[in-house]
Subunit: 369 residues, 2 copies
Amino acid sequence: MHKRGFRKYLNKKSWDFILKSELTPLITLKMIADEVGVTHSTVSAVLNDRASERRVGKKTQRRVLEVARRLNYQPNYLARGLVGKRTKTIGLIMPSGMYFPQYLLPQEISLLLHKKGYQTYLTTSLHDKEVFLNSLAELSARRVDGVIFFPYHNHYLTPAIRQALRQFPVTVLLAFESIFRDTLQAHLVCVKMDQGAEEMVAHFAQTGRRRPLMVTSVGPSNEAKVKAFKNALERHGYDSSDEAALYGVPPIASNDLDSYTHFLRDFESRKLRDRTFDALFCTCDEGAIAAMNYLKQRGIRVPEDVAVVGLNDMPLIRGFQPSVASISWRHPIACELIVTRLVERLNQTGLEPGCDELPTQFIRRESAG
Amino acid sequence: MHKRGFRKYLNKKSWDFILKSELTPLITLKMIADEVGVTHSTVSAVLNDRASERRVGKKTQRRVLEVARRLNYQPNYLARGLVGKRTKTIGLIMPSGMYFPQYLLPQEISLLLHKKGYQTYLTTSLHDKEVFLNSLAELSARRVDGVIFFPYHNHYLTPAIRQALRQFPVTVLLAFESIFRDTLQAHLVCVKMDQGAEEMVAHFAQTGRRRPLMVTSVGPSNEAKVKAFKNALERHGYDSSDEAALYGVPPIASNDLDSYTHFLRDFESRKLRDRTFDALFCTCDEGAIAAMNYLKQRGIRVPEDVAVVGLNDMPLIRGFQPSVASISWRHPIACELIVTRLVERLNQTGLEPGCDELPTQFIRRESAG
DNA sequence: TTGTAGGCGTTATCAA
DNA sequence: TTGATAACGCCTACAA
């Protein structure tokens, strides 16, 4: 059966298109059935391992398989999804991706999902509720079996969004706080800032720092981190008031600057010099490096005069001089967990919404003293 | 019409599932039609701006729109795709993603595609032909309208893969060399290494360097870069033999190490000290930083004794001391171009395969002298 | 051991 | 101005 043989399966328009464009025609069950000389339902049974159940003859099975392979048959997932079976498709909604390891998560997650037989839609919410809602609608229109997303903060879970999430058989959240569980039928993978913050502040206390300051971009996205930091400060007898412990940097516009430059410019605009501190905790490694360069430029030594700690533990920060301390949230484990939980829930309907807590870890390096 | 009203549209199994799981039922054209009191084809016409063509009454239109919005109707893209219209879905196949800006591309591309009304499947080829072929099959099964992928080298375009690519109405390639065009009906966005390499080597020549050495991971992925470097060396009268100009690092296993550590370990295993050089060109910025740290450790000064240049121009390398020179391939422009070309070809069938060349740029910074 | 028929949610083409 | 009806490709009963 060669290309010409497909003519009868196609209307004129499709056929002309195929001829002209040199496209390979897509094979259907019916084409295979005709070629072998059986019905499409027989072919379907063989190709879906339902052959024995249906008592298809050995010979027929072999021929079907042979023809299917020869013609390079690929089941149409649209049709399959339409009849009600799962689409084997997952939607992944990421906020924006200026920071490591956020921009690694899509690749890692899609790779893990692929191993489990799923394809992944990648979508961006841009930290914008409207965009988020819109993405959910599109994923629902495509009948994904589940969604994974990363809301950062309850703030992004408006009633409309909560409602929209109920369209999906399974949803898994990645977040920095654990309050979402309430009314949402979703599994939560929660990266706990508390542990890392506690370890870091304990280190500050031990090494005699008196004024730790947190540098963070303003907005709800970082609330959990701020809270964890303040709690740790209190436990160790530091002043945890906003005035003493917090330094806000304007949020970075997506696709605008890179975050290193963004933080550096802010520091250089004379704002950081008005503050007193001998330890800095920056909510991203890029910010920590910007801070170190800013301090160096002003003759302030790291770590002797000021300790600096970042967040996210990018591989590259080990290469700086002094090497940069950081808080790691071990994203490979998080990805693994997310995918495992998702697939688990896809296979086993009716599971109660659960929660996995992933403690962060303070990684001490030279910049922290 | 409240939840209970949907009962009649669902078989027992689906209904029980809905009830139990608190899922929002998905609305169909038929449900809207029944609610309004017309046929689904009328509803379809109204909802697809075909109302005037079909002469639907104003009143009917209003009611249809109102009910559709109230019930939060979302067209089923599976069904829509099945009847032959485009799926508004693109497949993106990335190699592996250990390096910047590769891990940024998926986000950037999917965001741009989203703005044009497309959703993006993210898939990984892992630099493995089998995986690649498999990904193509899955994307085809899902009837994507087009694919974008990043093959690095002709080597990855085996006959089987070329054949598989013919299943897709439109394909766009991103690559470092321009030989692909031959038999392939694909548009190519080609990042030309020549220009950046030329500028860099010219700079080496001007500043009196005598032995430039290229540090690159072994494998076909970097062939175009090697060629560009060697050509530039020849043009400037340098020895461009493999022995003189090339230093190979084993390819990094995906999900194994980070590339900074990988390069550093290799350098430290005494292999780099056997070579003579006064200028290093590393095919990734991570490698350049590893080299700088290795040299510093051995008392060799950068850039006085050895000039160091990276590739990719990661934002963070500006923060190093000395700041790291690099070759930039301006990936935002590449992404924009890829998406523009793809959409152009989707809207206008029968375009001849074209090619856009994107010259790279040498970014001089302290490490290059 | 296999074929037939109905349905999934759309769109498109008739006919009324 | 609208309603039937036939595809699209697949799956699943049920019939033979």
